[in-house]
Subunit: 351 residues, 2 copies
Amino acid sequence: QRGGDETSHQHLRYNPLRDSWVLVSAHRMKRPWAGQVEKPPEEHIPRYDPRNPLCPGNTRANGEVNLDYESTFVFENDFPALQPDAPDPGLDQHPLFQCKAARGVCKVMCFHPRSDITLPLMKKEEVVKVINQWADLVEELGATYPWVQIFENKGAMMGCSNPHPHCQVWASNFLPNEPATSDRCQRAYYEKHGEPLLLQYAKQEAEKKFSLSSHQLPFLMPFIINAPQIAFLRPTHHFIVFSLYLCHSLCLLGLADIMKRLLTKYDNLFEVSFPYSMGWHGAPTGPCLKENNSHWQLHAHYYPPLLRSATVKKFMVGYEMLAQEQRDLTPEQAAEKLRNLPDEHYKTREN
Amino acid sequence: QRGGDETSHQHLRYNPLRDSWVLVSAHRMKRPWAGQVEKPPEEHIPRYDPRNPLCPGNTRANGEVNLDYESTFVFENDFPALQPDAPDPGLDQHPLFQCKAARGVCKVMCFHPRSDITLPLMKKEEVVKVINQWADLVEELGATYPWVQIFENKGAMMGCSNPHPHCQVWASNFLPNEPATSDRCQRAYYEKHGEPLLLQYAKQEAEKKFSLSSHQLPFLMPFIINAPQIAFLRPTHHFIVFSLYLCHSLCLLGLADIMKRLLTKYDNLFEVSFPYSMGWHGAPTGPCLKENNSHWQLHAHYYPPLLRSATVKKFMVGYEMLAQEQRDLTPEQAAEKLRNLPDEHYKTREN
Ligand SMILES: O=P(O)(O)O[C@H]1O[C@H](CO)[C@@H](O)[C@H](O)[C@H]1O
Ligand SMILES: O=P(O)(O)O[C@H]1O[C@H](CO)[C@@H](O)[C@H](O)[C@H]1O
C-alpha cells in the first residue's frame, strides 16, 4: 500500500520498458479547457467510395488496380518511407555527423472490404483473419528484416488520411530506437531476475487488479502507461514473436475477443469511433531469430489522444517534448473508467 | 562529402544529444495529403479582451487580479502540474512498480501587455526584457530546484489555450528524462573529446554552412534535428545556464536579434503566425550548481508542427511512437528554405 493519495497529488512513475519516468498530475483534470477543440471523428463513412484507393476494385495513385478482395488485402505503400534499394550515404568521419543506410519495405493492409466498419464492429472470425495476416507478414518480412513494425493510425486526429479500416507494416534493416530500448530493458531485467519482465509484470498486475481479462487472454491497463486511457495488450503465454504457432493455437480466438472488447470500450467512452495509434512489439527478427530472445514477450501498445471528451485532446507539447511525459489521469483512474464501461458497442446497442 | 543523394533517398541520422537515430525519408514530401486539415492560426486577436485571464488588470480563475503590467508579468499557474508540497507516495518494493515524490512550482510569464503581438513583432528592447525575466526566473527557482524548464507552446495547434503572448516555467525537484539524456550525452562527449559537444558542433556547422548567423550570435538549423523546420538556438560563447552574466553581456542584444529573426522567418514561411513549442536547456541547477558542468552549453530547441502549408501538420504517430522518429524533409532542405526567406516580417511588409 502506498502512503500518498495518488489521485490528487502529483508523483513520478517508473516505466520499466523505457527505463524512464512519467509525471502524473491527476489534479490537472480540474482545469478548464479554452484551447483547440477537435472535430469529432467522422461517423458517416460510405460503405464503398469509388474514389477511395483502399476499396476493392479501385485504381490507386500508381495505376494499379486493387483485387476485388473479400477479407484482408495487402499491397505495397505507394509513398514508402523505406525502400529496399536506398544507397549508402557513406560514412562521415565526425562522430557528431553520423549517417547510416536505411532500407526496407512499407506495406498497407486493409482489414475488410467495407469502409464503414472498424475492428470492434467486425465479426470475431473477421478479426481472426486480420491476426492471421499480421502473422503471415511478420513471417514473410521477418525472414530477412530485423524489425517488422505493424501499426495502425486510426482517425484523422492521429494523422490517418483514409477512413477505410487498415494498418501499415514497415520493415527495416535496422532496429528502431523504441524497440532497441525495450529490448535493452527486457534483457537487463531477465539477466537480473531470471524471468521475463512482462511475465513478472502480469503476475503483479493480477494481484493489483490493474487488468481486465477475458476467459483466454488478459488485457492490461498497466501502471507503466504514460498517456490517458492507454492500453497494453498481450497473450498470457510466453509468445515471443507473432507466429503461426500463436495463430494456430487457442490464443487466436482469445486475442480476437480481447481486441474487440478493448476497442468497444474505447468507442463507448465518448460514444464515437475512438482514435488511436497502436502497434505490436515482439522480439527482433531476421538475423536475430537465431539469438536467444527469452527475455521478450510479444505485446501491443495503444496510444489514444483523447482525454476529457470526443473533442478535447491531451497535447504532448512544450513540457512533454522538452522535459518529460506528463499525464492528467492515473492509470488506476483510466483502468477503472474502462472497466466500468459496457462490453456491448454503443452502435449495436442503439439498434 | 557524402556518397548518396540524401534529398531523394531515405537514410538514418544520428542525434548526438539524444544518442538515438532519426529516419529521414525526404521523398515522402511527394505524397498527396487527404488527411486532417487544421484551422489556420488565428490572425485576428483583440489587443485587449476583458475575459482573458492573462491581460493586465483582469481577474483570474482563483480571484486574483493581475497587475496593470507594462512589460513582462509573472504569476503562479492556477492549475499547476507541480506543487511544492505533494506527499511522498512511498516506496513500493517491486522494481516494476516504482514511484517517487514529485515536487515543484509552475509559473506563467506574459511577454507583453498586448494580446495581439508576438515575439517577432515586438521591439528588440521588449524581447530583451523577456530574456532578462527568463534569467531572473532561472536564478530564483534554480537556487533550490535542480531543473527549471522554460517553455512556450505557441498556437492552438500546439495545445496553447490562450492567444496572449506567454510562456511557462516549471521547476522540479527531479531532473526530467530529456535533460537527463542530454546531460549524459554531453558529459560522455566531453570526457572522450575534452571539448563540449555543442561547441564542437558549432565549429563543424560553420564549415558545413548549416547555420544562419547574426553579427553577434549564430542560429542553427542543424543536422541532428528530427522535425521539419526545427531550429536550435544558442549563444556562440560557452554559457552554461541562463544567468545575469549572459544578460549583462553583449550577448543579450544579439540573442534578442536572432530570436526575432528566426521567428520572423517562421512566420514568413506560410505567412501565418507560426505555431511551435520551444524551450531552453541549460546545465542542471540547485544542488548541481556546485558540480562541474563544463560539458554543458545553454541552448534552445524549437519544434514547429507544420510541414507543407499553414494547415497540414506533420503527425508524429504510429511509426514514430512505436518505432522511431521519421521526417519528410532533410535538415539541409529546411535550412535552405528558411535561409531564403526574407528577414522582414510579412505583416510589416504589407503596410
Ligand atoms: O498548461 P497548459 O497551457 O494549459 O497546457 C499545455 O501545456 C502543457 C505542458 O506542455 C501540456 O501538458 C498540456 O497538454 C497543454 O495543453
Ligand atoms: O503513411 P501515412 O498514413 O500517409 O502517414 C501517417 O503515418 C506515418 C507513420 O506513423 C506518419 O509519419 C505520418 O505523419 C502520418 O500522417
